[in-house]
Symmetry: C2
Subunit: 201 residues, 2 copies
DNA sequence: CTCTCAAGTCATCGAACGCTGACTTGAGAG
DNA sequence: CTCTCAAGTCAGCGTTCGATGACTTGAGAG
């Protein structure tokens, strides 16, 4: 067992960076803060990552989110909401990484990263489900709702939404998603499906 | 006419601060930036406002937005969307002040200001309109949609929403608002009304 | 003209910033 | 044990930050 472990230190720095950048945003976070959180010397950040900017890029590169496309189509929106509302995002300070990243949206790079994530993960998947005209716009409007829910829940901490679980939102999710996509959508994720899979047929 | 005009200088500083804080967020904005934009010495900021924080507070205190409660109830949501989408927010860098403020949401003060604005301006007005149970939650869900639309439009700049005007969103606004509030809502603001008296319905 | 006082400027403070190069330390190989 | 080399530390660079107090300037009053 190694006491001086390059990989472990790198990981600690990345984790601390992820948390700080999410909570405080890029500008309010200093490399010394991150180093202190990790219990290592700040110099190592530049040794390992080159610059604060590159650390930010690497720390926020991978959004450790579940695969939304896995499962029945009519539950897609419900899965998205569950990801935002019920998923454990303590690694990112308790907020969905997309929401946390908005704090750094003064930088074009971060903004572009957000756009990429929103379009690739939400808009495209929803657009493929939307029936009829205006599919793109309606997909974006539904994506906007997801993002808005994430923000009001954790950043603004509006009373009802802050306490709400995905199950509480289910009926409203279902009806709005059905309305905007023009096809019947479920508000909840069917849990019984995943049990039958556990015994590896 | 005065060459050295305290009030005019104060106003110039406030305007520059408003723009900078909106575009870059609190931390990425320096008092020297604001002073340079205003064409005055940075020292005056401390003379006139005491500190950077107090300048921020004063610059972002008044949201120069139109009164949303003025006009027929069924157009309330349409007015909200129009305020976010069509209103001229160049004073705040082209974004709704609420959206811009998210960039400074690492600071509890800013967060609280956002919460206040969202609750007072959006949630309460919508809750009073919502029929049936879960009024608060449904009002917040609709507010979340507004905020999300503002963000995807200007921050994320999603392709369809970035180009959309309020009129393009009207049908979807109408049906989602009607659905969530449980009463018929219009997607557009009736312009012909503005000439006559406001009718209370 | 001179005087006055507020508006505006200047020099600078101490702290914190991102970042660098020279140094120290410790675990494994011989 | 000693030697080696990568992991980790240290002192400090140059810059910028928010903030302060002493100073200069200029328009209006007399």
């Amino acid at each position: 067992m190694q006491k001086r472990d390059r990989e472990a230190t790198r990981t600690r720095l990345l984790e601390a960076a992820r948390l700080r950048f999410a909570r405080e945003g890029y500008d309010a976070t200093s490399v010394r803060d991150i180093a202190r959180d990790s219990g290592v010397d700040a110099t190592l950040i530049f040794r390992y990552f080159g610059s604060k900017k590159q650390l930010f890029d690497q720390a926020t590169a991978t959004a450790h989110s579940p695969d939304l496309l896995e499962g029945p189509q009519e539950e897609l929106v419900a899965r998205m909401v569950a990801t935002i509302v019920d998923h454990d995002w303590t690694e990112y300070g308790g907020e969905h990484p997309l929401v946390a990243m908005l704090r750094s949206s003064a930088h074009e790079d971060a903004r572009q990263r957000i756009r990429q994530e929103v379009c690739d993960t939400y808009v495209i998947a929803l657009r493929d489900l939307a029936k009829g005209q205006d599919a793109e716009l309606r997909a974006e409007l539904l994506s906007a709702w997801m993002v808005g829910i994430g923000i009001l829940r954790s950043v603004v901490a509006t009373p009802a939404l802050a306490e709400a679980r995905a199950a509480d939102l289910a009926p409203h999710i279902a009806s709005v998603a059905t309305d905007l996509l023009g096809r019947p959508m479920s508000g909840t994720v069917d849990q019984s499906r995943s049990e039958g899979e556990s015994d590896q047929t």
